[in-house]
């Protein structure tokens, strides 16, 4: 009953250079499940894999049945690590670093009240959490310790927000950098006229350039055709199909390379041969209609149909089973 679909496997195997694998789609369709199963399969192939979540309400802990939230990369199995980024913790640590830097730079006993207030207020901004996660991802990815990075993405809207945020940030920082450079020019002019030595390197400029490169690193991965494989997860239902189409259009606008579509929760056709209630029969018929529509719309980009299982996927045993369904039972 559990059909092995190899198009997904072939796509991944054919492109070993695509080290960043992402499953995107609406919430609750199985992104985390697929991320875990794919990570499991790749690890069983001897690849060193990190599956990590950028979702503040991450569910990797649930699926692996281990509390890994905010604990850095946690080894789950041989070759398989999982990580859930704790944004709050990251922000607190970051604030601490800023305060320390101020104390060190000016030899203050404590951070001036006005400045402290600002640090507190800035951290309460809603964009803070997203930016912190975005930034933390750069640290995870840039180190390059793993053969594969599997992003357990946040729901679609957020992923798009990440991308648009990167674009806006980049533009702003480019502008600010230009202003800063102009300031350095004036400074240089004054120094020359007063015949002083050239001033030391502008540290703010250095910081700005670093911020920009971090933002770009993060966004570049999401849009890198060479190194990234992005899979849409959908289920055979009308609303999901329409939303996926819409999202695919938006992703195309941000140049996210979509590698294919994976259909989840397909009720096994074999059930039709059994004595099943009309309710289930109708559902199968409905799914057939949408499956045909999905095939028509996405054609050969539909890489796998994953059956609805009789229970939810959590714990290594179920992940192993799903990996078997998605990538072949023998594990080869």
């Amino acid at each position: 009953m559990e059909k092995i679909d190899t198009a997904l496997k072939t796509t991944i195997l054919q492109h070993p250079e695509r080290r960043y694998i992402m499953f995107g789609g609406k919430g609750g369709l199985g992104k985390t499940t697929f991320s875990a199963a794919t990570a499991y399969w790749l690890a069983s192939q001897g690849k060193k894999v990190l599956v990590f979540s950028v979702d503040p309400q991450a569910s990797l802990s649930d699926i692996f049945q281990r509390d890994i939230f905010g604990k850095g990369p946690v080894k789950i199995l041989e070759n398989l690590w999982a990580q859930e980024i704790d944004a709050d913790q990251h922000i607190k640590q970051y604030q601490g670093e800023i305060r320390q830097k101020i104390l060190d730079m000016y030899g203050f006993e404590s951070v001036p009240e006005e400045i402290e207030q600002y640090i507190q207020a800035a951290s309460a901004e809603p964009a803070m959490e997203e930016s912190a996660i975005f930034d933390a991802v750069v640290d995870v990815v840039v180190r390059g310790d793993y053969d594969y990075y599997i992003y357990d993405l946040v729901p679609l809207g957020h992923a798009l927000y990440y991308l648009s945020m990167a674009k806006v940030y980049d533009e702003w920082i480019t502008k600010i950098t230009r202003l800063r450079e102009e300031m350095a020019e004036y400074q240089g002019m004054v120094s020359r006229m007063k015949r002083e030595k050239e001033t030391e390197e502008d540290q703010i400029l250095t910081e700005l350039q670093d911020i920009r490169s971090r933002i770009n690193t993060s966004a570049r991965i999401l849009t890198d055709r060479e190194k990234t494989a992005f899979f849409f997860v959908l289920i055979p239902e009308e609303m999901i199909l329409l939303d996926t189409l819409k999202a695919a259009g938006m992703f195309a606008k941000f140049n996210v390379p979509v590698s294919g579509y994976v259909v989840n929760r397909v009720v096994p056709h074999e059930l039709l041969q059994q004595d099943i209630p009309a309710y289930l029969r109708n559902r199968i018929q409905m799914q057939d209609r949408y499956l045909a529509q999905i095939d028509r719309t996405f054609g050969s980009q539909v890489l796998a149909r994953v059956p609805e299982l009789e229970r939810d996927v959590s714990g290594t045993e179920m992940i192993e089973r799903l990996a078997g369904i998605m990538y072949g039972q023998d594990g080869s």
Partner: protein, 93 residues
């Protein structure tokens, strides 16, 4: 024989101060202007990066925090300048 080097040095010293006077006449204003421009730019820079402080959010706060340590000394002057209805220097120069 001994006196000879002295006028030369005097001449040299005189030339150097003349040079500096002429140079100063020409460039003092310019450098003052450049410094003022730079100061305005500095305030503009702080406004863009730390705008949150006065309720004008421009740069995302996560990144302004990284720049904060470098502008700590300028913050109070900046706020004072923004609160001023008219810049005193406008009347002075």
């Amino acid at each position: 024989m001994d006196q000879k080097p002295e006028p030369k040095e005097e001449k040299k010293g005189f030339l150097r101060s003349m040079q500096e006077i002429i140079y100063g006449m020409a460039s003092h204003d310019m450098s003052r202007y450049a410094l003022r421009t730079r100061a305005s730019m500095e305030h503009l820079f702080i406004l863009i990066t730390m705008g949150d402080m006065i309720g004008v959010p421009i740069l995302p706060p996560y990144y302004s925090l990284r720049l904060l340590p470098y502008v700590v000394p300028q913050i109070s002057t900046w706020k004072r300048r923004l609160l001023r209805e008219k810049d005193v220097s406008d009347a002075m120069f």
